[in-house]
């Protein structure tokens, strides 16, 4: 039979470390069950994969929520599925953490005394490290990462977690996945961490395909992912090995709406605090941002 060649780009996201040998069995199953010829590429950064998708060098991708937005907007992509967790949860959580010995015992304390606090933040495109906490933790409480703290050090999740475990930073953002990994690898270190705050649920990581894939291919893919690891214990083992997943669930671009809202909100904040922009520019930009936000609100309301 005619085997269509597809490239599948997989990145290490916020919530998973994509290990080739863990994904490969799934890819093999995919090829076997659909008759497609799917080649997997594992990358440490999403930028390359998104550009590749834009130029049709990659047809399917596994992204984080934030990067999926880019894939959808930039690369003619469409969210068609997302992973499910074993625990049954449909996502993970952003956290604010500190060392057990630190004098900060609650999130309220932190919010009140933010001027005395050094904050370890996520890298700017991180969903759980930056977007979620700036919106749900800070903005909702009238604070801003840039101006309300003694200092803000944007870095990676691992670096933040390490700094907290060794009491080298007052508080830092992180996520449940990271903490679970730490718990599994170094239970003793895990005990050093106190969770101060937990965000609302962040939808789990999505699968994106190019919108212009032939319908037949799309159908094959969808039926594979819909039913994968439903019953077969071998398949379940494969899914679990990847990152504690239990299977896939249908999804759509709608999953990205809350993330988009946060991203736009952040953008708005940036524009407002930009000292070098003229007032007129600011106004027009804010107006367009507000309009986009309200559009999203209506979408979300549906």
């Amino acid at each position: 039979a005619y085997a269509e060649t597809l490239n599948f780009g997989i990145i290490s996201t916020d919530s998973s470390s994509a290990l080739k040998q863990r994904w490969q069995p799934l890819i093999d199953d995919l090829n076997k069950q659909t008759g497609l010829d799917v080649k997997a590429f594992f990358a440490t950064d999403y930028a390359g994969i998104i550009e590749a998708m834009r130029f049709n060098k990659v047809q399917i991708g596994f992204f984080g929520n934030a990067s999926a937005i880019e894939a959808v907007d930039r690369s003619n992509g469409e969210v068609f599925a997302k992973v499910k967790y074993k625990s049954g949860e449909a996502g993970y959580y952003s956290l604010l953490i500190t060392n057990v010995n630190s004098k900060w015992k609650s999130v309220d304390q932190v919010l009140k005394n933010s001027r005395e606090i050094n904050l370890g933040f996520g890298d700017p495109n991180s969903t759980s490290g930056t977007l979620v906490p700036s919106y749900y933790l800070l903005a909702k409480n009238g604070l801003s990462a840039k101006t309300s703290f003694k200092s803000v050090l944007p870095s990676s999740h691992e670096a933040n977690l390490l700094a907290v475990v060794n009491d080298k930073i007052d508080v830092a953002t992180n996520n449940t996945d990271m903490l679970d990994t730490l718990k599994a690898q170094h239970p003793d270190r895990y005990k050093e961490v106190r969770v101060l705050w937990k965000s609302p649920l962040i939808p789990s990581d999505p699968l994106v395909w190019r919108r212009d894939l032939p319908q037949a291919t799309k159908d094959k893919l969808r039926s594979f992912f819909d039913h994968y690891a439903e019953k077969d214990p071998r398949e379940q083992a494969i899914m679990h090995a990847i990152s504690g997943y239990s299977g896939f669930a249908d999804s759509s671009n709608a999953q990205l709406v809350p993330i988009r809202q946060m991203a736009l909100f952040q953008k708005k904040e940036q524009v407002q605090s930009d000292a070098h922009m003229s007032d007129a520019d600011k106004k027009t930009q804010l107006a367009t941002l507000d309009q986009k936000l309200s559009e999203l609100d209506t979408v979300a309301a549906k």
Partner: protein, 268 residues
């Protein structure tokens, strides 16, 4: 009379020398000023190192004993990495030799050397990720895009190092070749290359080695390789595996270093 002579000569020379030492004094002052100014921006707190040395020890202990359970994967990925590095370096070498010669001020006229140097500066300065993406959109994900990205960057580095080795040669042998009426090319082949060969070989192998380590690009473009494995091990706090991978990299780097010494001794 002679001692008078000597002291007079000594004094005139002393004034020349003092002029020189003035200049070098200024140089040192400038250097320390820059270091001092950077001290704050770099937030230097050397004493902090002494405050929590226990942390480092505790952290370091997690790396032992290294966990070689997955060594087959590592080996396989290492081979991919080596292959990409070999081709990236080989292609770069081919370009760096002419570019390096053309940007050496004692070989090429200034109106060629300067533009070539600036081009090489750009090759080094433009982010590897940008090159990687440039090549991804042309050839798709995979090792080949990694090879191309490494190629451009390595060309920039090697051409610079090659050129500066050429600028430091002893001019006499090259002049000896020139004296026979040889062409510029002959002068390079017979007068310059034999002199710079040991250094060029060591540069090329250094860049090869550093391409083996430069996992970022290769990993970013989905070429796999040991670098991706390493990052994943670090990011999942799996330090025993990290140590295992790093040991392999150290062995490879040491082998390349030994090879470099061997080749330089032998071929030259």
């Amino acid at each position: 009379m002679n001692s008078v002579d000597a002291s007079r000569l000594g004094s005139t020379s002393a004034s020349v020398a003092s002029k020189r030492s003035w200049a070098s004094m200024l140089g040192w002052i400038a250097l320390f000023a820059v270091l001092g100014l950077s001290w704050q921006s770099a937030d230097m707190r050397p004493l902090d190192l002494l405050r929590d040395p226990g942390n480092m020890v505790r952290f370091g202990r997690d790396f032992f004993p290294p966990d070689f359970a997955e060594w087959r994967t590592y080996l396989h990925e290492m081979i991919v990495t080596l292959a990409v590095a070999i081709w990236g370096t080989a292609l770069a070498l081919v370009c760096a030799v002419p570019c390096g010669l053309l940007s050496a001020q004692n070989i090429a006229p200034v109106w060629i050397a300067q533009p070539v140097r600036r081009m090489m500066d750009a090759c080094r300065a433009i982010n590897e990720m940008v090159f990687a993406m440039l090549f991804i959109v042309a050839v798709g994900l995979g090792p080949f895009a990694g090879v191309l990205a490494l190629w451009v960057h390595t060309t920039g580095v090697l051409a610079k190092l090659f050129a500066e080795a050429v600028e430091a040669i002893d001019a006499r042998p090259a002049e000896g070749v020139r004296a026979t009426g040889a062409s510029g090319l002959d002068e390079i082949v017979y007068g310059v290359l034999p002199q710079v060969m040991p250094l060029w070989i060591s540069f090329a192998l250094y860049r090869f080695e550093s391409n083996v380590r430069s996992a970022m690009v290769v990993g970013m473009v989905g070429a796999g390789g040991i670098g991706v494995v390493l990052y994943e091990a670090i990011r999942s706090f799996n330090y025993a595996q990290t140590a295992a991978v790093m040991l392999m990299v150290i062995v490879i780097v040491s082998l390349i270093d030994l090879g470099s010494a061997w080749v330089r001794e032998r071929v030259i």
